[in-house]
Amino acid sequence: MSSVPRRPPEAGAALAARAVVKRYPGVVALDGVTVELRDGEVLGVVGENGAGKSTLLDVLSGVVAPDAGAVELHGAEAAFGSHRAANARGVFRVFQEQALIPNLRVDESLLLGHERRLRRGPLLARRAIQRRAQTLLDELGVPVDARARVETLDLGHRQAVEIARALLLAELLGIERPVVLFDEATAALDRAQVAAFLGWVRALRGRASVVLVSHFLPEVLATADRIVVLKDGAVVTQAPAAELDEPRLHALMVGRERAADHHREDLQRPAGAQPLLRVRELSLPGGSVAGVSLDVHAGEIVGVGGLLGSGKSDLVRAIAGALPGATGTVQLGEGPPARPRLRRLLAAGLGFVPAERGTEGLVLDASLLANLQLPSLQDRFAPRGWWRRGRARAATRAWIERLAIAAPGPGTLAGALSGGGQQKLVLAKWLERSPRVLLLDSPTRGVDTGAREAIYTLLREQSQQGRAVLLASDDLTELIGLSHRVVVMARGRVAAVVEAPAEAKPSEQRIVTLMSAAPEQEVAA
């Protein structure tokens, strides 16, 4: 680390990354990033998936040591080693996934791991804890009873509890202004929750120094004092929020205006007339999917959009037959309409790319070969029970080459691939079967830009070859850019279907309006 260019820290830098480099197998996640968080400000960090936002937070919060460069806390070099050590120095991180334990009370959660700071003799000073917790929540304007169990709170209020926790611990530790890092903290919240949450974040200004990492640009623009744009592991811009707007941020993140070529709209051809996938009156117990009917034709890409809790992900899973208790029918090609059952549909020519790449899409601890052959052992690579190893290896090699997967050979462990490489492998595993219908749930989540474009091109090819593609995604530009039609889901139902021909793509604004048009009080509890 001696080669780090050192310069005197700017007065008032609470936390800073200096020329930080972090490499993972196959990717440079951070490539010499210098970012300063000034004391008491809210710093927004934006960038595409894979731009390095999460890695930057990992480094800033001390759980990941940089390969080069340094992290400085109030001007002194810091290496925390763990979240707890970081907490002790006044650095707190709030995740997208909840880190709270559902069956604990709010006040217990606020102090978890630091109870010894508030006790009476050997016992916890429960009353005192409760009072302090309640006072703090009231100050922040969070309408939560400190005695409530965490599991009874909605996601927005749980995130608020995380904020309160940072402040309370800092107070107890005698730290004047803690640093709070928000890692996509609003991703799981609905609109009303987001608005309240951002209010609480704004209330932190002056009490804490805040880093806000988010996908949602309007949120960041409305909340942050300054904004850092990351692209491909490097800082593209660091500027006051007042000097930026959404289109400008977009252009900086992508490196171009929302470009048609990114989604290969030039390859979009009119869809065929023959429906390959027919879904009728599909419902799930619990109502996350309620009476959905839709068709996907040969050569067509249909996008499914919707807010969190709209049921778009459940819809795709239910069509695949991967959720129990579904009613209604799914029909593949000329097959009979029937209640969806996964194995029957897979045998009839369905490919299903689930959302969770690491736990549902791939066995990370197994080789590329083992993963690629898994759905096809039944009929291709071991039809009579004997493994046709040579065939499976050859097929794996061919896909590695065709999709430019960065791996030395079929024996490489899937877990050693980058996110993009892994997603290519999941696609290859299904494309090997030449499916007539391809269902994909968030296929580019956590995938770097290069692999993204490869996946888009691949999906275009599939559609040109007359396959039907149904794709659920949170990424609006992708949804609009790729799809022939966009199905907007709200509260388990189809709220709207928007045509999206190559020459007349609907605006993101229009889709967003449709998504949030339906009341959504009951969702995302």
Binding site: Y24, P25, G26, V27, V28, A29, G50, A51, G52, D232, G233, A320, A322, L342, R343, L346, A347, F352, P354, E356, T359, E360, G361, L362, V363, L364, D365, A366, A370, N371, Q373, L374, P375, L377, Q378, A382, G385, W386, W387, R389, A404, A406, A407, P408, T412, L413, G415, A416, L417, S418, G420, G421, K429, D448, T449, G450, A451, E453
Partner: protein, 330 residues
């Protein structure tokens, strides 16, 4: 993270992993050699033909048990009932042989019974959603009870020269048939584990059950089959043990659970599933059997052996997790 950096070949780490993998695979053979050298120095009889014959008779049943149990472990489950299945099937075999009603079919019937009770455990796990350690712990208690009822608590002798010959005859000089059959079965199971669809499915389920399910694998059927297999091989061990003794006794199989688990784990099969395999298990069985046999030869008592075997299991798992921690898991 431009396209250029992404498409770069995956760097050094893989080779590091391979080197570590190699070091791991050499650990067990090295320990085996050390043990053999140590015991042959400490005991004059350890390397005698007589002891080789005795060794083959001891290792054979253990290898059988470990074969089926390895499949269950690779699948990410565990079969705690193997010792009890051996006891139960040994008792069934002794009972049928002393009764004489089934004649030559007594042995296949006992093995089938083992497969049957294994399949039931498997069904409870796969269809009932009961964790395998609970299901097989229950099966262990039930089967031990049933076996002791069959035996009325005491050894049940039978006379069947053919059955005895099955276990203690020597088709290959100085090697008890029990050891020979086990070795043949091992070769067969290696092929099943590494070259058949069933074997590949077992690995896939152990590595990621949801992935296997969403890929269209009949996960539940595979689970039932793996537990049935484990029951069948435990039954083979039970039959061989009673054939060696000429009677079904209440202590048959009492050490098999611990020993087979130790053998599987020291050979490098991960208890969390997906890694290792039956090809490795032979080495583990040799290691544990040499340990037991050698300790006998130098006059260590049963209690000492229990202590050492327990320590070996925990030590092997500790070592395995320590190695995993060193690896880069992303």
């Amino acid at each position: 993270m431009s396209a250029e950096t992404v498409e770069r070949p995956v760097p050094e780490r893989l080779d590091d992993g391979r080197r570590r993998e190699l070091a791991r695979s050499l650990l067990a053979p090295a320990a085996l050699v050390l043990l053999v050298v140590y015991f042959s120095l400490r005991s004059d009889t350890f390397l005698s033909w007589g002891n080789v014959t005795a060794f083959s008779g001891q290792a054979g049943p253990l290898l059988f048990v470990a074969l089926g149990a390895t499949f269950v472990v690779v699948m990410g489950s565990i079969d705690l009932s193997v010792g009890a299945v051996a006891l139960f099937c040994g008792a069934v075999a002794a009972w049928l042989l002393s009764d004489g009603a089934l004649g030559g079919f007594a042995v296949p019937a006992a093995i089938l019974a083992g497969a049957g009770v294994g399949a039931i455990s498997g069904a409870v796990v796969a269809y009932g959603g009961v964790p395998s350690f609970v299901a097989t712990l229950g099966a262990m208690s039930i089967l031990s009870g049933v076996a002791l009822k069959i035996l009325r608590g005491s050894p049940l002798p039978f006379t069947s020269p053919a059955t005895s010959d099955l276990a203690i005859g020597q088709i290959v000089p100085h090697v008890q048939n029990a050891g020979l059959w086990a070795l043949i079965a091992w070769a067969l199971f290696v092929v099943v584990g590494l070259r058949t669809r069933f074997g590949l499915y077992v690995y896939a389920i152990g590595g990621g059950e949801p992935v296997a399910r969403l890929s269209g694998v009949r996960v539940r059927a595979v689970k039932v089959a793996a537990f049935a297999l484990s029951g069948a091989t435990a039954a083979c061990a039970g039959v061989l043990l009673v054939a060696q003794l000429g009677s079904g006794g209440p202590t048959v199989g009492s050490t098999l659970l611990l020993d087979s688990l130790a053998a599987i784990v020291v050979a490098g099969t991960s208890l969390s599933g997906g890694r290792g395999g039956v090809h490795r298990t032979l080495l583990g069985v040799l290691l544990i059997s040499v340990l037991a046999n050698g300790l006998n030869q130098i006059g260590a008592d049963d209690y000492t052996q229990q202590i050492i075997k327990g320590a070996v299991i925990v030590g092997a798992v500790l070592l395995a997790t320590a190695r995993r921690r060193g690896e880069v898991t992303k």
